[in-house]
């Protein structure tokens, strides 16, 4: 198991190096003078230009610049944002809890509805429920979520007035410290009556929007995986033993059917983060996606560079974790390679 883990870890190193190379090259490919791109000033005097050129190490040969860049990243230095002058890493960790909170609840929404619905559809294969559910799932994973978000805001927030339109907290009525960055936890710690309910209220619509595509995918995956498992011999044995249908489906079939579904859930972190960019933009959710779009609109290339590097590192690490976890629960994978 440990050997498998280290082999898998070693495989991510070249990916990580390539990622550093791409982000290093990307900022050099941005049109315009490299100093201006990085300092954000235009028409600066030759003396300042020379000063920054030296300060940023742009007078060094390229290979040296790249090694310096790698060295900085390995020491946790992801550059400084032009617009806020704050360290990119600090900004990232300030905003990341908001994105984690959003994606976590989106995933909960997708799994808690998608898995039972998919399993039920498989059991009633061909029935009305199955057909309706598969149609909903088709619309779910075909959904342009930026439109879906706007439509939900229009109906649920504007017309019905059930949920707030944007943000994470009602700043007029609630003000509390955010030591963890997770609004629900901070609200619970704040002792302000109704704060948790308020935070939950803000969270619910964005989570539904972001969870819609994964919900469609998970319901479909669970259904087809369940269909396969239901025709296995051990399910027939369990039925023949006289176990109740609930035990057969819930304990024997579903547990085995969930194996591929778990992998899909783990590997969908990348697409969830992509969806978070759109969801956070629509709901003005102060997370990583919102920040990346802000950075590009402000031409804050250092923040964009550091942000892409950090987001991708998170995805690489999560995929590594999923693979190792999958290897741990499924020995065939571990020994297969």
């Amino acid at each position: 198991m440990l050997i498998y883990f280290f082999r898998r870890l070693a495989l991510t190193i070249p990916t990580f190096v390539a990622l550093m190379f791409v982000t290093f090259a990307a900022i050099r490919l941005v049109p315009g003078d490299p100093v201006e791109v990085r300092v954000g000033e235009h028409g600066i005097s030759p003396e300042r230009l020379a000063f920054f050129r030296h300060q940023l190490g742009l007078d060094q040969p390229l290979w040296k610049q790249f090694l310096d860049y790698c060295w900085q990243i390995l020491h946790g230095d992801f550059g400084v944002s032009l617009s806020t002058q704050a360290k990119v890493l600090t900004e990232f960790f300030t905003l990341f809890p908001a994105t984690i909170e959003l994606t976590f609840f989106a995933m909960m929404f997708a799994v808690l509805i998608g898995v039972p619905a998919g399993a039920a559809a498989a059991v009633n294969r061909g029935g009305i429920f199955d057909q309706v559910l598969m149609s909903i799932s088709l619309f779910g994973y075909s959904m342009p979520i930026f439109w879906w978000g706007l439509m939900l805001i229009m109906f649920v927030s504007v017309q019905l007035g059930w949920t707030p339109v944007s943000g994470r907290v009602d700043l007029i009525n609630y003000y509390y410290d955010t030591p963890t960055g997770f609004m629900l936890i901070d609200a619970a710690l704040s002792d302000q009556p109704g704060a948790v309910w308020d935070a939950l209220h803000h969270l619910i619509l964005p989570a539904i929007v972001l969870g819609t595509v994964p919900l469609g995918v998970i319901a479909r995956m669970t259904r087809s995986s369940m269909l396969e498992v239901l025709s296995e011999d051990y399910v027939r044995t369990a039925r023949a033993k006289g176990l109740s249908p609930f035990r057969v489906i819930g304990l024997h079939a579903l547990r085995n059917a969930l194996l591929p579904v778990v992998t899909v859930i783990g590997l969908s972190v990348s697409s969830l983060l992509a969806g978070a960019v759109l969801t956070e933009t629509i709901f003005s959710w102060p997370g990583i996606g919102h920040w990346l779009i802000d950075s590009i609109n402000r031409r804050d290339y250092p923040a964009l560079q550091g942000g892409v590097m950090l987001v991708s590192t998170v995805v690489i690490l999560v995929n590594l974790f999923v693979d190792v976890f999958y290897g741990a629960i499924n020995p065939r994978i571990r020994h297969g390679r």
């Binding site: 990622l19 075909s142 959904m143 342009p144 930026f146 706007l150």
Partner: protein
């Protein structure tokens, strides 16, 4: 008399049953049975025809601004037939924007699909057949592309190249190429160990011909399905970029951009926001339905389930 007819018909019938149906005919008869797939294909055909004949079908130019009729109501909301779907905040005819927007979206979807398909097939075959170094290099690069969330990667590409229709296509193509590479590599590796490949090799078939005319046709079924679904994903991705203002630039009539332009009117005139998104949703659902039908028809194992 009746007996004569029966005798005359029977040989005909039996001949038709015994005749081996061509692969295309077999595929079509399986596809046709699938109601969802047929609905999808019909809608896709309508969207394609509307896009091709946009110049004749659209009542107005998608960029002409009717200053006398800004945000005109659609016909079901008390509007006139001059603008059946109303007009947007600049007085442009919504129906024309939707029709021409279909042209833009389909163009994006099909160009992304064709380029990533061709590049993906070539890289996948090279990775599977050209030895360890090429394999490791290609696989690592694809892993890297897959590690960056699709929209973030597209944003990075657009940040470098600048926002435009062409650069949207470039960005989304880069995002979707790894799928084909992985698929081709995996199925080519599976085929390589089979006897017919060994036989072809023994017969002296060169590597290029082995790759393209011996192995590739046997990997095609999943590729075709992936290509169909790839069109809808590319349309969604490009619309997302357009919505963020990083895709096609105004006045290009693009669905995502049209939706973003009208965001401010969501309270007063919701249909301006609703219609472009509905167009995206319907198109994507139709393509996905067709793609599912393709898979079921091409893969007999799936067909029976």
């Amino acid at each position: 008399m009746g007996a004569d007819v029966t005798i005359a018909v029977t040989p005909d019938e039996s001949r038709r049953v015994l005749a081996e149906p061509s692969p295309l005919a077999a595929f079509w008869s399986a596809f046709r049975e699938n109601r969802g797939a047929m609905i999808g294909l019909t809608i896709v055909t309508i969207v394609v025809l509307a896009a091709v004949f946009a110049d004749f079908l659209a009542p107005h130019s998608p960029i002409e601004q009717f200053r006398d009729a800004v945000r005109a109501k659609p016909v079901w909301d008390g509007g006139t037939w001059r603008f059946p779907f109303g007009t947007d905040g600049e007085g442009r005819d919504m129906l024309s924007i939707l029709i021409y927007g279909g042209r833009v979206s389909l163009f994006i979807g099909v160009s992304v699909m064709s380029v990533s398909f061709v590049v993906g097939v070539m890289l996948g075959l090279v990775a599977a057949m050209a030895g360890t170094i090429a394999d490791v290099a290609i696989t690592r690069v694809m892993d890297l592309i897959m590690a960056v969330p699709s929209l973030v990667l597209a944003i990075l590409v657009v940040a470098i190249l600048g926002p435009s229709l062409t650069n949207t296509i470039v960005a989304v193509t880069i995002v979707y190429t790894p799928r084909y590479v992985r698929l081709v590599r995996a199925s080519a590796l599976g085929e390589l160990s089979k006897d017919y490949v060994t036989a072809a090799r023994t017969a002296g078939v060169g590597p290029l011909r082995l790759a393209l005319s011996t192995i590739l046709p046997n990997c095609l079924a999943p590729l075709i399905v992936q290509a169909a679904l790839g069109v809808s994903d590319a349309i969604l991705e490009a619309a997302g970029l357009g919505f963020l203002g990083l895709g096609a630039q105004p006045p290009t009539p693009e669905w995502g951009a049209a939706l973003a332009d009208s965001r401010e009117f969501i309270r007063s005139d919701p249909w301006i926001v609703a219609l472009p998104g509905l167009a995206i949703l319907i198109t994507v659902v139709a393509i996905n339905l067709t793609g599912d039908g393709l898979r079921d028809a091409l893969d007999p194992k799936m067909r029976r389930s």
